[in-house]
């Protein structure tokens, strides 16, 4: 390219610096998000997969009523590795529990991430989050279960990646619960320690579910009764980390692509206009002997420069932030981190994708414009002679003039209209997405609407008789639908006049407990409606059971079917008046050895506050990003609108329009499009949430309700409108500076 033309590139960039800066920011955001999100997903997935494979994560675990007599024989016959370990919950204080696990050698082997491995019974390896939260550095001593242990290091366990106390919990709280590994010998004297069997199948190609059913049948045939059978796919301690990985993977593509597409559209519009405006210059250059190729190269310089600069800056910002972000994400879980890998393919994609997107779109526009003959170009800006479909379709007579004027501004350019609409819709979706996640989490964790009890006790064996005062009996079993073994849920028999489980229908009316009620997440997940008769397979005995659904309950905390206890017992062939657990409003005096589980509802709020704090920061970040995107888009469109309407603005001034009247006519014309874009964003946000939640449901057996609260809709709307006001304020000066002389000198249409 000739030197003189090269100088012009910088001048063009300077002339519209704010506009190009906006595009640059969008590209930077796109590249940055892609590299970080893709890098996070890949690193987490690699770390988790490597860890779980190298340290032989179990496929399932269970408890047995007695020690398996011929373990080796069973291992050979069933093609599995079985290793038992001991577990003991040591209460360190009223609110702090440390679960002591015996060190294993074949399955779920601990990975020492700091310090050294165990060498004797007086030593312990702690989970680092617990140690950090409760002040147990390496070398310190810890008193647990009446013994003193020296903390010799920190470890990660493949079946406790997310250290949840109960397998069905959602949130971990290191201030309240942690895990420690001690030698098997150190369990001497701990009479109440539980023996848990971990199982891993040798054949990794056959359906693990199928193999699990076969193993269970073998155990039953051997006369061994199993309980607390937990498949790894339904074990949130191991699976919750995949929710983060999936989330990152989901974010890594659509968000950057949306940013790149927005940049492409705006740059294509800007270049189309610029070349039209430059028609005389281009025609003259042609006439002087310039080739089309040379001019194409000249005009391509700007989009390529922007794309490259945006991609490189985005990457440069992303590269150093990947490691701390992986570490921050991992600190939430317990996975050893040998190192964080930067995938250069991601960096290359982050740089080249915007170059490709912007390069291609600009090239197509530039080529189509430069095709015109020099004579045609030199005549000046070709007049638009066609009236577009929107302009023709809408009859605006009934509106007052200012409304007509504003609508006409928008109808003039369909591409600009679509760009603004989609831009605002995308920003709204992003914003609402964040708020919806927060709201869904709140709904999931806020059990107070459904559970009126404080304590939940699960017994090892069936109990009979009446429940103590203040308590209610329940029975429960795990089930799965015939065609999908991956969905696992509880069916519970509760007292027909239960006051401790309060369900409401979708309109908020109380539901009686003397019927079969299904919670909404489960109904939605399996497409069950009121009146349906459904058959599920019991995980206990593998037999099918049929239930008729009487109502759908608006309870989002868990996936449950509730029916009266007597009916449940009868269906399952259990003795009348038998129960396996108690809900209670007060603490009951039950010996530990009788219990297989104990849950306090009070444990949730602390963990929830901590978790919600993280969700809130994520939502704030998403809102900021969405606002920046909205601001850039609205600013770009508004500045284009002013650019296109310079002559009209000048004319309005000549005709005697006052400043605020002109500002209102020009700058407020986008209001209906912005409002429409926002409204369209609401169902789209809900639909996309539904899709993401559906995926999460599959991944971690956690169903979140996509609920948008009106308050958050209002907050999002106000935020979008504030960015609109800000972009108008930024553009107001441009309207002021349009001189009356422009119309006096100009010749348009």
């Amino acid at each position: 390219m000739v030197m003189a033309l090269r100088k012009r590139v910088m001048r063009i960039l300077k002339e519209n610096n704010r506009r190009y800066l906006g595009i640059l920011v969008l590209i930077i955001l796109g590249s940055y998000t892609f590299i970080v999100a893709a890098g996070l997903a890949q690193n987490l997935a690699n770390l988790v997969t490597t860890f779980t494979e190298e340290h032989r994560q179990e496929d399932l675990s269970f408890r047995a009523d007695r020690v398996i007599p011929d373990r080796e024989g069973l291992e050979q016959a069933a093609g599995v590795v079985i290793e038992d370990y001991l577990s003991f919950d040591a209460a360190l204080s009223d609110t702090l529990t440390l679960r002591l696990l015996s060190a294993t050698e074949r399955l779920n082997t601990p990975a020492v991430i700091e310090g050294r491995a165990l060498s004797g019974p007086g030593e312990i390896l702690l989970d680092p989050a617990f140690a950090g939260a409760n002040g147990y550095p390496v070398g310190s001593q810890i008193e647990a279960a009446g013994k003193t242990f020296t903390v010799v290091g920190y470890m990660s366990l493949p079946h406790y990646i997310y250290p949840l106390k109960n397998v069905n919990d959602i949130l971990s709280s290191p201030q309240e619960f942690g895990v420690g590994v001690i030698t098997r010998g150190a369990f001497t004297g701990l009479d109440n320690a539980e023996r848990i069997y971990a199982v891993r199948f040798n054949d990794r190609t056959r359906s693990l579910n199928r193999q699990a059913v076969e193993l269970r049948e073998r155990l039953r045939a051997d006369g061994i009764t199993v309980s607390d059978w937990v498949d790894i796919m339904n074990n949130r301690r191991a699976r919750l980390v995949w929710a983060s990985i999936t989330g990152m993977k989901t974010m890594s593509v659509p968000l950057p692509v949306a940013m790149f597409l927005i940049s492409c559209l705006i740059i294509a519009i800007m270049f189309w206009r610029m070349i039209r405006r430059d028609g005389v210059i281009i025609g003259t250059l042609y006439a002087q002997g310039y080739r089309r190729r040379e001019l194409t190269r000249h005009y391509m310089t700007i989009p390529l420069l922007l794309a490259l600069a945006g991609g490189v800056i985005g990457s440069l910002l992303a590269i150093p932030s990947l490691e701390p972000m992986v570490m921050a994400m991992v600190s939430y879980y317990n996975v050893p981190v040998p190192g964080v890998e930067l995938n250069f393919l991601h960096v290359l994609t982050g740089i080249l994708t915007p170059v490709l997107f912007l390069g291609l779109s600009s090239y197509l526009v530039i080529r189509s414009e430069l095709r015109r003959s020099p004579a045609e170009l030199m005549k000046g800006e070709q007049q638009k002679t066609k009236v577009n479909a929107l302009e023709r379709a809408f009859k605006l007579e009934r509106f007052k003039f200012s409304t007509k004027f504003k609508l006409r501004q928008q109808f003039r350019s369909i591409s600009r209209l679509v760009f603004l609409f989609l831009g605002v819709t995308s920003a709204s979706i992003l914003m609402l997405f964040g708020f919806t996640v927060m709201n869904s989490m709140r709904h999931v964790f806020d059990a107070s609407e459904t559970y009126q009890f404080e304590y939940e006790y699960s017994f090892r064996e069936l109990q009979f008789g009446a429940a103590p005062e203040g308590a209610e009996a329940f029975n429960a079993g795990k089930f799965y639908p015939e065609n999908n073994q991956e969905i696992e849920f509880y069916i519970a028999g509760i007292e027909p006049d239960s006051r401790l489980i309060t369900l409401t229908d979708l309109k908020g009316n109380p539901l009686p407990n003397n019927q079969t009620n299904i919670t909404k997440p489960l109904a939605d997940r399996m497409g069950i409606k009121v009146g349906d008769t459904v058959t599920f397979i019991s995980k206990e005995d593998g037999k099918p059971y049929t239930f008729q659904i009487d109502a759908v309950a608006a309870s989002y905390i868990e996936q449950f079917i509730y029916l009266p206890l007597a009916e449940f017992n009868q269906k399952m062939g259990l003795p009348e008046n038998s129960f396996i657990g108690l809900f209670s409003t007060k603490k009951l005096d039950i010996p530990d050895e009788k219990l297989s589980g104990f849950k306090t509802m009070g444990e949730l709020p602390g963990a929830m506050d901590e978790f919600m704090g993280q969700v809130v920061s994520m939502v704030v970040m998403m809102t900021v990003v969405a606002s920046v995107v909205a601001l850039i888009i609205i600013y770009l469109v508004t500045s284009l609108l002013i650019e296109e309407n310079r002559n009209s603005i000048s004319l309005l001034k000549i005709f005697g329009y006052r400043r605020r009247e002109i500002r209102s006519l020009i700058l407020n014309s986008s209001t209906p499009v912005i409002v429409a874009g926002f409204i369209a964003g609401i169902p789209l946000a809900l639909a996309s949430m539904g899709a993401v939640y559906g995926y999460l449901g599959k991944m971690i057996n956690l169903v979140l309700p996509p609920i948008v609260s009106p308050l958050y809709v209002v907050i999002s709307f106000v935020t979008i409108m504030l960015t609109y006001q800000l972009s108008k304020a930024l553009c107001a000066k441009s309207v002021e500076t349009v001189a009356m002389s422009e119309a006096l000198k100009a010749g348009t249409e």
Binding site: K404, M740, L744, T748
Partner: protein, 232 residues
């Protein structure tokens, strides 16, 4: 007199170069008259008409329109003056491209205190059947008719034309001049227009010839020639 301009001076400074555009203009035009300003390019015609119309200011001298001293008005007063009193017709029509013919006229009717009926105005310029068309669907002559309709819808006291026939062919120009003459007769609107075309001077009550920022010649036509008889 309806328009009284005396000793009007105007200069522009570009860098260190000062260009005197108007060097003491004196001009008078009676109410309901048609005035024509003739002169070569750069003689200051447009600057003069812009100052009279309140879109520009002189450096010194007085401009009085209908007994109001325009030269003493501030920006807000000038806006109100243009809003209430002045109609503009441009060489290149300057219609707003994304508004229909009717809406282009409404742009001005919308801010007028007592605008004329839009349909009647369109009828007067013989464009009533093209009310819903967009400017890009009209010929140059038709666009200029719409521009005139837009200028007169507010029933201005003064209609200013900057080469209103400058971009049109002979036949179309003549029909536009006829239209201006009709407006003048029908609504009693005072018209002051710029032209290169000396033949147009025949339809004006007063003619002012400008050269290098000064009125070098001025005459009054005793007998006005109807626009349809003007030839060039």
């Amino acid at each position: 007199m309806f328009i009284e301009v005396s000793g009007l001076k105007k200069s522009y400074t570009t860098g260190e170069v000062k260009t005197e555009v108007l060097k003491g203009i004196d001009l008078k035009l009676g109410k309901g008259e048609i005035g024509v300003i003739l002169g070569p390019s750069g003689s200051g015609k447009s600057t003069l008409i812009n100052i009279i119309g309140g879109v520009d200011r002189g450096d010194s001298g007085r401009v009085i329109v209908d007994e109001t001293e325009v030269s003493k008005m501030n920006d807000e007063e000038l806006t109100e003056y243009r809003r209430a009193e002045i109609g503009f017709v441009f060489q290149f029509y300057n219609l707003i491209p994304n508004l229909t013919v009717g809406e282009n006229i409404e742009v001005v009717a919308n801010i007028s205190k007592s605008p004329l009926n839009i349909n009647e105005v369109l009828q007067a310029v013989e464009m009533e059947d093209k009310k819903d068309r967009f400017p890009r669907e009209l010929s140059g002559g038709e666009q200029q008719r719409v521009a005139i309709a837009r200028a007169i819808v507010k029933n201005p006291k003064l209609l200013l034309g900057d080469e209103p026939t400058g971009a049109l062919d002979f036949q179309t120009s003549r029909s536009i001049l006829q239209l201006l003459q009709q407006v003048n007769e029908k609504f009693g609107t005072t018209i002051l227009m710029i032209t290169h075309n000396t033949a147009i001077a025949a339809m004006a009550n007063r003619v002012f010839k400008l050269r290098s920022g000064k009125v070098v010649e001025e005459w009054v036509n005793q007998e006005l020639v109807p626009a349809e008889r003007i030839e060039w």
